[in-house]
Amino acid sequence: MGKEVGLMENHVELDNVSKFYDAEQKLHALQEVSFGIGLGEFVSIVGPSGCGKSTLLKIIAGLDRPTSGEVRFNGGTVQGPHGKISMVFQAFGLFPWRNVLENVEYGLEMRKVSKKERRNLAEQYLEMVGLAGYEHMYPKQLSGGMRQRVGIARALAVEPEVVLMDEAFSAIDEVTAEVLREEVTDIHRQTGKTFVLVTHNLSEAIELADKVVVLSSRPAKVKKVMPVSLERPRDRTHSLFIHMHKDILHLLKEELENTLIRHKLQGIRELQSIHDIEAQGSTAKPKQPLITT
């Protein structure tokens, strides 16, 4: 999709999204994150580990609320899980007591879709992810790659406009993951749905995306938005691919170093304050006596 990012109408828009994990606003996860996701665009979000990528995705999904700012979908504020936004999970999120078919039907069941239609849709999407014939297997009988196919079929079966993927390929062996990534690329092309992928795998991010959003370390800010103009299917040995990979890696390393320096400074400050307290303690009396009589 060699479209210009600027010309695309934003399907999902993050507007100054900030998030604190705690009420005292000390654990700062996200700081004024803003970017747009075009209709039918595939966006990868990368960042240092623990920077709040998954939190950001949860906020887009409506599973978590931002402390300030908002996420807009089709122009309306996302207030909670939205019927047109679906999700694929890192550990697949399958119900082990349901067979493949019943797992894919789950989302439709929650929408009170009739049994017959449910079955039809589920079969159709199982076919799409190459799992026709596995309907009556239980998740424990499937390999990781196949389980994630079920997860993808379940996400697609509710016919969403946006598919969110949280580290969707991280728990799968590399070869299977590569095949699955190619299939997701096909599904993206065929369905024209908007995809958002959170990942720590830079090659994966570049391979799949129309643009890569690079986040800084915590509190996460948008460090850079990089459009990927490579033709699909993408060649990981293409010089442009390698250059992008290097650039992103450089950005993330920089972040990591900043964090280390910050932690060191903080450590020194803490040592200093401990020193101060100890110095005080020898002369000053404790503010409150331990036992009052």
């Binding site: 999700m87 890192q90 999120g93 007591w97």
Partner: protein
């Protein structure tokens, strides 16, 4: 019922009892038979006086005549009914508490230590009080059985709830499951393997306590029947009753818990 039908029923029963179960092989039959043979020989050859241990064959004979007696069967039914009532009570109190403790940390920290405190007390020590309050009867028996069954159900369900992966709650949210469906279609099946083992333990504990109470307070169940018969010297009837309890316990274990567990084994 025709003989053919009876045969078919017996076959299907034993089939469902043993099919797919670890008892499906019959290796255990030989040692059991040997045990009974040793028992028979001990009394028959005068190693043990028959007034202390009747022969196995005489026990069997009394057993087969007893199970045709309505009063005998009613006694078993009586004990079984108290047991089931106790377990239902235990289950309906323990399940919501355990679920709350498993999902709400504050509730867990408040309630679980208290429950552990009560669990540490020997259940039967409360029996005299219960008898004082409710009289020596079914009420005391049901309450004691539910107390015995409460702890295994509570702790297994609490553990099961804590073990539900966070991700599964996200899955229910993303597909906009309402609270009731989240409970019935996600939480309950997710905790069911834990819950089944809790129920099975509760069932075993409750049987023991029911028999003990019947002996201690003369509730007209099967425990009291054993006590009375052994005291008056008819040991055969006592042994026959023990055999009957064992068979009921095994049947329920296999038919009820067996089918629950084979469902869970399919996917867990």
């Amino acid at each position: 019922m025709s003989v053919e039908k009876q045969k078919a029923l017996a076959l299907s029963l034993t089939g469902s009892v043993f099919a797919g179960h670890r008892f499906a092989n019959y290796y255990w039959v030989a040692p059991l038979a040997l045990g009974f043979a040793v028992w028979e020989a001990l009394t028959r050859f005068g190693v043990v006086p028959s007034k202390s241990l009747p022969t196995f064959s005489s026990v069997l004979l009394v057993f087969f005549s007893s199970i045709q007696s309505v009063t005998f069967l009613l006694r078993i039914a009586h004990s079984f009914l108290n047991l089931v009532c106790g377990l239902l009570m235990a289950f309906s109190i323990a399940l919501p508490l355990a679920f709350a403790a498993g999902s709400k940390n504050k509730f867990d920290l408040t309630v679980t230590p208290l429950i552990m405190l009560f669990g540490a007390l020997p259940d039967l020590s409360f029996l005299p009080l219960l008898v004082l309050w409710f009289g020596p009867g079914n009420v005391a028996a049901v309450i004691m059985a539910s107390a015995a069954g409460f702890f295994p159900i509570y702790f297994t369900v609490r553990e099961g709830t804590k073990n539900i992966p966070r991700e599964l709650f996200d899955v229910t949210s993303i597909f906009k499951s309402d609270r009731l469906s989240t409970f019935t279609k996600m939480v309950l099946p997710a905790i069911s393997p834990h819950m089944f083992s809790g129920l099975r333990l509760a069932y075993d504990f409750a049987w023991e306590i029911i028999i003990a109470i019947e002996i201690a307070t003369r509730v007209a169940g099967i425990g009291n029947f054993i006590d009375g018969n052994v005291a008056s010297g008819s040991l055969q009837s006592g042994f026959a009753a023990i055999l009957a309890i064992a068979l009921v316990a095994i049947a329920v274990d296999r038919l009820f818990f067996g089918s629950l567990e084979s469902w869970a084994r399919k996917w867990a």
